[in-house]
């Protein structure tokens, strides 16, 4: 279960300092993030991530449907409190996530390097991710004002529409963007007061697990974001059909998968949002509309005298 490492920076440095024996590096066990804790998959299964350049690998949890079930239970439990937190408070917490991510830059850059990016690409991706969190932190107490409305009606009623979070959202994160894509999908969902269960990219899974550690140290209540690793092929049906999930965010371009998600979502009329694989660094990849994608509009007719 241990990662093999031949190019570990730490080991190298100590040896150069003149130690007689190389220190055995302490490598991270990549686990999943559920209910504010870091368990292993209940299935006991693992898959291996191999760095494209070779020389570095890690074992990741191959999550089962039961892991997903447990994560949904955790997300449902966390929703009650998170959805009631003041938008201002949610903004502060999201900003805190950005701060913690900033402090862990080096680790994320390292992981992105293992996943095949150049140092410049990696550094710019982490910086963009921090900025994206700050961006959505700012929206938490503003999107209601933009999208809510007082509606004109031709009778003696005061008619207004307000937004409420959808509930538990299942997120199938982008396969091709390990960190920025993931942050761009999760941040608007939780900014709007939803809780979520995320399936990280199976090709580039490292940053997702480490993001869980950042969330855990950022005052995001346990269960608001749950991050699983594993394979879409196995979990897609569960993500789209679970009756206690209220929305699905699907990232990807497979027509077959999209059809499956839309068909299954009809079971309990889940809200479905589709995102193609894209360059998540571009300006259009952020905005208030990803928040609106998981908001319900409640319209109230309030009688008034004339």
């Amino acid at each position: 279960m241990r990662n093999k490492s031949e190019e570990n920076g730490m080991g190298g440095q100590i040896q150069e300092a003149g130690a007689e024996r190389a220190r055995i590096p302490v490598l991270k066990t990549y686990k999943i993030y559920v209910d504010g804790k870091f368990p292993r998959t209940e299935s006991g299964r693992y898959f291996q991530f191999k760095s494209p350049a070779g020389g570095w690998s890690a074992n990741l949890c191959e999550c089962s449907r039961k892991d997903f079930r447990d994560a949904v239970t955790a997300a449902r439990g966390a929703f009650a409190k998170w959805s009631k937190a003041t938008p201002f408070n949610r903004g502060q917490i999201l900003y805190r996530v950005a701060e913690m991510l900033e402090g862990r830059k080096a680790q994320f850059v390292e992981e992105l390097l293992h996943q095949g990016l150049t140092r410049a690409q990696a550094e710019s991706e982490v910086a963009a991710s921090v900025d994206r969190l700050v961006y959505y932190a700012g929206w938490t107490d503003k999107f209601q004002q933009v999208f809510s409305a007082v509606n004109p009606v031709a009778s003696s009623y005061f008619n207004f529409s307000v937004l409420e979070p959808t509930g538990v959202v299942a997120v199938l994160a982008p396969e091709e963007s390990s960190l920025l894509g993931l942050v761009s999908c999760v941040a608007p969902v939780i900014a709007g007061g939803n809780s979520c269960v995320v399936l990280a990219s199976s090709r580039l899974p490292l940053c997702a697990v480490t993001l869980g550690e950042v969330l855990n140290s950022s005052d995001v209540p346990g269960g608001v974001v749950n991050i699983l690793t594993g394979f879409r092929k196995e979990l897609l049906a569960q993500f789209s059909s679970h009756m206690d999930v209220n929305g699905v965010l699907y990232c990807g371009d497979s027509a077959e998968e999209i059809r499956k998600v839309q068909t299954d979502a009809a079971l309990n009329v889940k809200r479905v949002s589709l995102q193609p694989e894209q360059d998540w660094a571009k300006a259009e990849a952020q905005g208030p509309y990803p928040i609106l994608a998981f908001q319900e509009v409640k319209t109230t007719w309030h009688p008034i005298g004339n």
């Binding site: 449907r65 079930r69 949904v72 569960q238 059909s241 679970h242 009756m243 206690d244 079971l267 309990n268």
Partner: protein
């Protein structure tokens, strides 16, 4: 007068750990879930209970899930004595018992005269089963005969009604005490022994229930008399309910897997059982949003 049967606490815990490792899947799981549903004493014991809520609960007892009329009804509805009449009327024509908690439930801290009067009144109102509480203070003070006499007196006051004796194991401190209290209740005339009122934490636990099941087993081997068991309080998930059923099956055998001999005292368990039954049938994980609350 009472021989103390010592309980091996470590042995009990290891036995439970081993039984919990059993995995029940597919058809067997579905059957076990239905069985657990049929063993429910659907309970509402809030001071804010109203006739409306009890009627609603009775409707659920008769047909636990509108969408699945083929599912069994529950075994009984358990209410406070003043709501027995309402429950009885709502369940007319159905083979579902009405159980009343009596004898100054949940504390039992009243005069024996008053507690017997309450028992007779509840039976007169139509209760088929009486859930009484033992005097824990007297038991812990070592006045075992007094406890036994009280149980016998209540049994007499019950007449035709079945008597369940609540030991309130959460207040008995040790498994040895649980065993002794079980033996006293059984000898004094209990038809069922029951773990808890649900008002004290901890309520029912697997170790406590196993000790009580062993008391029932030993009594059965000695006398051939059948005593029922009812764990109550804190059993909220289907998974836990199945663990109880495994324990009953392995301690007392299959004949005890029947609502006449084993009950669950619970309220939220019903919905989790329904949720798991639908999951087994459809393969899709279910939400509590789609099941009636009461």
């Amino acid at each position: 007068m009472y021989t103390l049967t010592p309980v091996d606490q470590v042995g009990i815990e290891e036995r439970i750990a081993r039984l919990n490792a059993r995995s029940i899947k597919k058809e067997a799981k579905l059957e076990a879930l239905k069985l657990a549903l049929s063993m429910l004493d659907l309970t509402t014991l809030d001071s804010k209970d109203t006739p409306g809520k009890v009627k609603q609960l009775c409707a659920k007892a008769i047909r636990p899930c509108e969408a699945m009329p083929e599912l069994p009804s529950v075994a009984a509805v358990c209410v406070y004595p003043n709501l027995v009449r309402v429950a009885k009327k709502a369940l007319q024509g159905h083979r579902i018992n009405v159980a009343a908690v009596a004898t100054a439930f949940p504390s039992g801290m009243s005069s024996l005269k008053f507690r017997l009067e309450e028992t007779r009144w509840a039976v007169n109102e139509g209760a088929d089963e009486i859930d009484m509480v033992v005097s824990r203070g007297k038991f812990l003070a070592g006045e075992y005969d007094a406890v036994a006499d009280e149980i016998s007196a209540v049994k007499e006051a019950c007449g035709k009604a079945h008597l369940k004796v609540i030991l309130e194991t959460g207040e008995l401190s040790t498994l040895d005490n649980v065993r002794l209290a079980s033996d006293i209740a059984i000898l004094a005339g209990a038809d069922f022994i029951k773990t808890s009122t649900g008002k004290i934490q901890p309520a029912a636990t697997l170790p406590v229930t196993l000790v009580m099941l062993q008391a029932i087993r030993d009594h059965y081997y000695r006398t051939g008399k059948v005593i029922g068991m009812k764990p109550a309080g804190g059993i909220a998930t289907a998974k836990l309910a199945l663990q109880y059923l495994v324990m009953v099956r392995e301690t007392l055998g299959e004949t005890w897997l029947h609502p006449d001999r084993f009950r669950f005292g619970a309220s939220t368990l019903a919905n989790d059982l329904l949720r798991q039954i639908v999951k087994e049938k459809t393969g899709v994980y279910q939400s509590l949003d789609y099941f009636s609350k009461d």
